[in-house]
């Protein structure tokens, strides 16, 4: 979807602000958000593509106003509600109980009877063997499709309808555009594609620069 998340090439965000000696987490709740995301994925509640698309569905103004882990929290919560793991009402009530003094709410927390495992890395691997041989070879000229789909995609706006060159074959990968929408993994070949900055940015391009993207085969056409 052409959402606010698709930031490549946008103007107006100013300089990159850095924080000296930044800690891994700024507050314990950020780690809790990471743990809940991992548990939900490892427990098979949602996949990484559904998770990314859930964040993309935030209202644009809210997306920009939120911190990174607030966006994660929003993305996790939306999916847990949509998949019926928690209800909006119980989450609202429980949130109230933590907000309202005196804080007796922690006494309602019971240890899980059967805690889910974290999910091994192998369970979460995205490599899959596609059913067809690779359509493109390294060195071949390609052009990306000029499409504006409303669903999830990993072809950024700035690289649509652009000419590039296949720089690498990256193997077969789960296809996010279907996997984010419950339409299966439908694995495809993925290619590292090299784009000249002038092709992407025209006269505004900086000299002697290239952008590389990893793109699924169906995003590409022979040039």
């Amino acid at each position: 979807m052409d959402g606010i998340h698709d930031l490549g090439g946008m103007h107006g965000f100013g300089p990159v602000e850095r924080e000296e000696n930044e800690p891994p987490f700024h507050a314990p709740w950020e780690a809790a958000v990471v743990a809940m995301m991992r548990a939900s994925r490892g427990g098979g509640v949602f996949n990484i593509d559904e998770f990314r698309h859930s964040i993309e569905r935030m209202a644009p103004a809210e997306y920009l106003r939120s911190t990174y882990y607030e966006r994660w929290l929003d993305g996790i919560t939306r999916l847990l509600v949509e998949k019926g793991v928690v209800s909006t009402a119980e989450l609202a009530a429980r949130t109230e109980s933590f907000l309202a003094p005196p804080a007796t709410a922690s006494s309602t927390v019971r240890p899980a009877s059967a805690p889910a495992g974290g999910g091994s890395p192998a369970d979460l691997s995205f490599f899959r063997e596609p059913s067809t041989p690779p359509r493109f070879a390294v060195g071949e000229a390609v052009v990306t499709r000029h499409v504006h789909r409303t669903g999830h995609t990993r072809l950024p706006r700035y690289a649509r309808g652009k000419r590039g060159e296949i720089a690498a074959h990256r193997g077969g990968h789960v296809f996010p555009d279907t996997n984010a929408h419950g339409r299966g993994e439908q694995p495809q070949h993925v290619y590292g594609v090299r784009f000249d900055a002038r092709e992407l940015w025209g006269e505004a391009a900086e000299p002697n620069a290239h952008v590389y993207l990893d793109l699924w085969e169906s995003y590409l056409l022979p040039a």
């Binding site: 507050a27 780690a31 809790a32 793991v85 928690v86 899980a112 950024p156 620069a209 952008v211 793109l215």
Partner: protein, 197 residues
């Protein structure tokens, strides 16, 4: 009550605690899951892992070739299990930098948690369209004759930069050398410099 709550932080913290307690009750979240995440990213996983691979590659040409060509095996030598890393090498002719314009993809297992600036709209929007300007803000000036390559992590592969070997590197052992390889250098927005003796 909702996101218009006067104290947004308090609201977010309460909402996280609420969701955490519900997932615990439903058996989806293990009781020690949060502690494990904190311990992992505050002590055992961080940029020092990627830094070690870089330091070894600078000192060992065969290891460097493996890190560039078969990163999973090369990382395995250092006890890491990670099969999705692409290592891109800086040379006198090429400077590499890494971004994820669509979200904030980053090799957590090899470089730890991404810094906040990496996840900002400012970096994500500008790294692909004006990389030289962004690099200059980070204090890295790349002459026009040196190519800049920006790696936008749009799939599940993750990128790490093998920086240029700094002058004086041969006087240090792997461990000492690794201490000078910063997270920023692994992302490609800094060079590695050793203090002059």
């Amino acid at each position: 009550m909702g996101k218009n709550h006067p104290n947004v932080d308090e609201y977010v913290v309460s909402r996280v605690r609420a969701l955490e307690s519900l997932l615990l009750e439903k058996g989806l979240l293990a009781p020690d899951a949060v502690d494990r995440v904190i311990s992992r990213y505050e002590s055992s996983t961080g940029p020092m892992l990627g830094a070690r691979a870089v330091a070894r590659a600078w000192r060992d040409a065969a290891y460097r070739r493996r890190l560039l060509g078969e990163s999973a095996a090369a990382l395995g030598d250092l006890g890491m299990k990670y099969d999705r890393l692409v290592v891109v090498e800086n040379t006198p002719a090429v400077h590499n930098m890494v971004v994820c314009t669509l979200c904030s993809c980053y090799p957590w297992d090899v470089m730890g948690l991404p810094p906040t600036w990496y996840k900002t709209p400012a970096y994500r929007s500008r790294a692909v369209s004006e990389p030289r300007t962004v690099l200059a803000e980070f204090g890295v000036t790349i002459p026009a004759e040196r190519e800049v390559r920006v790696w936008d992590s749009s799939a599940e592969l993750r990128y790490m930069v093998l920086p240029l070997k700094p002058a004086g590197a041969d006087t240090l052992d792997e461990e000492a050398l690794a201490r000078h390889v910063t997270r920023e250098a692994l992302i490609g927005v800094a060079e590695v410099r050793l203090p002059t003796a």
